[in-house]
């Protein structure tokens, strides 16, 4: 809370600095009777930036470093033989308890005398740290303000400086997306490597049995972590989904782009768009209470044993979910085919459907294939529908009427409730996530390249 107050105060001072800079620049202009390089607002903004940015930078650096420094000092102050007798993990737990005591909270089992002593020390250090932070920040803010305000002169190119800061800020924002990707890759790689120190990659990627056991059943009760049943389950569900979504979605797109009267387009397009936004948990629930029982009854009627939660149920509903996705992507691509191609075919006497099948679709094929690949990556990464409707049965079998399990379901199962990233049982989620990421990334990259090529062809 004190941090928020600190930032709020800084913002307040910056507002003041803005005002000071603005009036100062006006005064300078009047005094020397010259035109300033920039308009007064820019001088104000520059003074505010000089006042706020260095202090804020210091604040960020400080809040990153200070807790570590304090922790180090407290550890040093602990009796050396006690520290030596503890493992890293015990030490971390103890430090956490100490900081809890320092904040005036109770810890389980009460604090030991050493902990109390350390907590007092820590509390003192923290108070000192806070005061010194406030003091240094105040000095920097006021110093920056005074310096910049003194510096105001007709020659000072305030606008250019402010604009450079803005451009840098914009560039920094666009770096966030890059850091996200880097973060995904690094975090998954790191945890997955930890997992592979328990289980060899060959065992993971080529294993045909999935039976992770529980981490509580002891370290020697190591389970079997074979990826193949999960990969196969994922493929089976996705293939069923694509078998549903591709024909319906593509035909919808063709009808919408080539045949539908404008009023139908106007009505149907927003509806399709809204459909694409329905949360997947809703589709999952729909699969569970409507489609599953329906398929099961249908199976009873024609004498096949279809389970309520099965690859078929999940695949079918996932297909329904992807229809809008396929159709709007294909629609975009079909409408991009130049009119001259259609006119040429129609002029030679082809019927409309012949034009579509023999001219438009071949021309649009690369783009449509790209759309299918994107749809496939959607299906592979989809989670909630399969969690609810696929039945969670990680066994290698070829029967779509039986329950299966997928990569995403297993990630959810292995990582919910247990946040201790030490056992292979929870670390495997990251290895699975990495596999999922690589598969979908591959599909996306190919799809994007294909679509891009296609666009260039007609631009």
């Amino acid at each position: 809370m004190s941090n928020l107050a600190l930032i709020a105060t800084l913002l307040l001072i910056m507002a003041m600095a803005y005002h000071l800079g603005l009036t100062r620049s006006r005064a300078v202009a009047a005094e020397q009777d010259v035109r300033m390089h920039s308009r007064p607002g820019y001088y104000g903004a520059l003074v505010a930036l000089w006042c706020g940015l260095p202090a804020f930078g210091l604040f960020l650096l400080w809040s990153f470093l200070a807790p570590q420094l304090i922790e180090m000092l407290v550890t040093q102050q602990l009796p050396t033989e006690l520290v030596a007798s503890m493992s890293d993990r015990e030490l971390t737990t103890m430090l956490r308890r100490i900081s809890a005591v320092a904040e005036g909270r109770n810890v389980a089992g009460g604090a030991t005398p050493e902990e109390l002593l350390a907590a007092n020390h820590m509390a003192r250090l923290q108070t000192f740290e806070l005061y010194s932070l406030v003091a240094v920040m105040a000095v920097m803010a006021v110093g920056g303000l005074v310096y910049a305000r003194r510096h105001i002169s007709p020659q000072w190119r305030a606008r250019n400086h402010v604009e450079r800061v803005i451009t840098w800020a914009l560039a920094a924002s666009s770096a966030v997306a890059v850091f996200t990707t880097v973060g995904i890759v690094l975090s998954m790689l790191g945890e997955a490597l930890k997992f592979f120190s328990f289980i060899s990659p060959a065992e993971f990627f080529l294993g045909t049995t999935w039976n992770p056991r529980f981490s509580t059943s002891g370290a020697d009760a190591q389970g079997e972590f074979g990826l193949l049943p999960l990969l196969w389950g994922t493929m089976m569900v996705s293939i069923i989904a694509l078998l549903v979504a591709i024909p319906v979605g593509l035909m919808t797109a063709i009808y919408m782009a080539e045949y539908a009267p404008p009023w139908l387009r106007n009505v149907a397009k927003p509806i399709i768009e809204v459909l694409a936004g329905i949360p997947t948990i809703v589709y999952g629930f729909f699969a569970l209470i409507v489609i599953g029982p329906f398929l099961s009854n249908l199976g009873d009627m024609i004498g096949i044993n279809i389970r309520t939660t099965s690859a078929l149920t999940a695949g079918l509903v996932m297909g329904i979910m992807i229809i809008p996705f396929v159709s709007s992507l294909s629609d975009d691509i079909i409408t991009q085919v130049p009119k001259s191609l259609r006119d040429g075919a129609l002029g030679l006497g082809a019927t409309k459907s012949e034009t579509i099948r023999q001219v438009v679709l071949p021309a649009a094929l690369p783009g449509i294939v790209g759309a299918f690949l994107l749809a496939a990556s959607r299906a592979i990464g989809e989670t909630m529908i399969v969690v609810l409707a696929a039945g969670n049965n990680p066994v290698l079998h070829g029967n779509p009427f039986e329950a299966v399990s997928t990569i995403t379901v297993t990630i959810v199962n292995q990582l919910t409730g247990d946040m201790d990233f030490a056992s292979p049982q929870s670390l495997v989620a990251f290895a699975l996530g990495l596999t999922l990421f690589v598969i979908t990334l591959g599909l996306n990259v190919i799809a994007l390249i294909v679509v891009r090529k296609y666009r260039q062809q007609y631009e």
Binding site: I166, L170, V176, T252, M256, F285, I289, L436, L441
Partner: protein
């Protein structure tokens, strides 16, 4: 005999004519297939909506017991509610008050409910039937009664008409969501309770009243009838606040940079490919990122809306960037050239001229991105937001669930007969929120649509 040109022409025409009928049939068939695809898609969606509405709408009305409760002084043997006396310190008063409250907690409130129900039934209830009687009413009601009395101790000795939630099983029975012909062993209520429920329903004492519990209460394990969405709603609200505050400014800023300032080189190409890929990364991967970095490395608390909001921010960022870029790209270059031509700097051009024109498109894209984040479930499961939380979170750092996660939790509840309807009602609430966001976005786009 040679075939004349005329004959050849005739022959060709005939072949064409013959094939023409076939080709026209094909044309018709193709067209019909297209229409069938559209109709299939729409029908499936209609089935989805109708089946959820049919199940969910009745859950907004819940079996409620309207009875007169007598605040019997013989049962409520309590001292007077402590008032602050002059000269007493605040802490001493609070201590006294807390003691009084815990006294109030020990009163047998259930007895008041029991006798009120007994009066309503109009029969003497033997003590061995007490369990059957208590099965009528939601177990949360005795706490509601206590709270009501603590609020207003002058109720002592009065008779007040109260509405109390009937238990979940009674609700299921009254609505016919369980087969009434099942034999006793498979019914969730005893024969006596069922008979009483029917009697009270016929007498108009149990009515289906609009369920405020669904909106005002938090999730509850002990009394499913009173389980509500308030906690999940607040959790979602906090998350959306985080998403709006972070992903919209960041997304718009990076889109402006990439579209208006970035030099075209390999680095920006890489950033662009990266953003397009990020938009297609499965949402659960973002959950793994959150679990490993925000919780594992940075040590942020589990189940906190702040962490959920951060994860969803990273997830919606690409959507917003892509929408904003498209919107910026649709502003014709002539606007920029005009501004630059009269001496504006590039920053001024963008912020004074291009951005205001692109604003409607940016707004639309942002709303769609936020709506998408609102319905996302999978990544939240990995950062512990599926924990059971009985309080409405007061800050983004407290434990909480979210609307879609609450749906996930309810659909897995063992009390299927009751929670199937409750889940559908929650879905209706979520879809209502999302569809209104979507409708707002589409309306905004239509309203401000400009053709250059």
């Amino acid at each position: 005999m040679s075939i004349t040109i005329e004959q050849r022409r005739q022959h060709r025409l005939m072949t064409i004519e013959k094939s023409l009928a076939k080709r026209h049939r094909q044309e018709k068939r193709f067209r019909r297939t297209g229409l069938a695809a559209v109709v299939t898609g729409m029908t499936l969606v209609a089935i989805l909506f109708v089946s959820i509405l049919i199940r969910g709408v009745p859950a907004f009305w819940q079996a409620t017991i309207f009875v007169d409760v007598y605040f019997d002084p013989d049962v409520i043997q309590l001292e007077e509610k402590p008032q602050k006396v002059s000269g007493e310190s605040q802490s001493a008063f609070e201590e006294r008050y807390a003691a009084w409250q815990s006294q109030a907690g020990l009163v047998n409130w259930q007895a008041l409910i029991d006798s009120a129900l007994e009066d309503a039934i109009g029969d003497e209830v033997e003590s061995r039937q007490l369990r059957d009687l208590r099965a009528l009413v939601s177990s949360s009601e005795r706490f509601a009664l206590r709270n009501r009395f603590v609020e207003d101790p002058s109720l002592l000795g009065q008779t007040v008409e109260l509405k109390m939630l009937a238990s979940a099983n009674v609700d299921v029975w009254i609505k016919g969501n369980i087969d009434r012909n099942l034999d006793d062993s498979r019914q969730q209520l005893s024969a006596q309770t069922r008979a009483w429920a029917d009697q009270l329903y016929d007498d108009g004492i149990i009515k289906n009243a609009f369920s405020t519990a669904l909106f005002l209460n938090t999730d509850s394990r002990s009394s499913p009838a009173s389980a509500g969405l308030a906690g999940a709603f607040m959790g979602s609200l906090f998350m959306m606040m985080v998403v709006i505050m972070l992903s919209v400014p960041l997304g718009v800023a990076s889109a402006i940079y990439l579209e208006e300032f970035a030099p075209k080189n390999r680095l920006t190409d890489l950033i662009e490919i990266n953003i397009n890929n990020l938009a297609a990364v499965p949402s659960i991967v973002f959950g793994l990122l959150g679990a490993s970095i925000f919780i594992g490395y940075l040590g942020l608390p589990l189940s906190a809306p702040l962490v959920g909001g951060l994860v969803l921010t990273l997830m919606t960022l690409p959507t917003i960037i892509i929408a904003t870029r498209a919107s910026l790209r649709s502003i014709p270059p002539s606007i920029r050239q005009a501004a630059l031509g009269i001496g504006a700097s590039r920053v001024q051009t963008v912020f004074h001229h291009v951005l205001p024109l692109a604003l409607p498109g940016i707004l639309t894209g942002s709303i769609l991105g936020v709506a998408q984040a609102l319905g996302e479930t999978a990544p939240l499961l990995l950062i512990g937001m599926n924990a059971f939380v009985a309080n409405v979170p007061g800050t983004p750092l407290e434990q909480s669930t979210a609307l879609p996660v609450q749906i996930y939790l309810w659909q897995g509840n063992e009390l299927r007969n009751f929670f199937e309807a409750r889940t559908s009602a929650a879905i209706i609430v979520l879809l209502g929120l999302m569809l209104s966001l979507n409708a707002l976005a589409i309306w905004l786009r239509k309203k401000f649509e400009t053709r250059w």
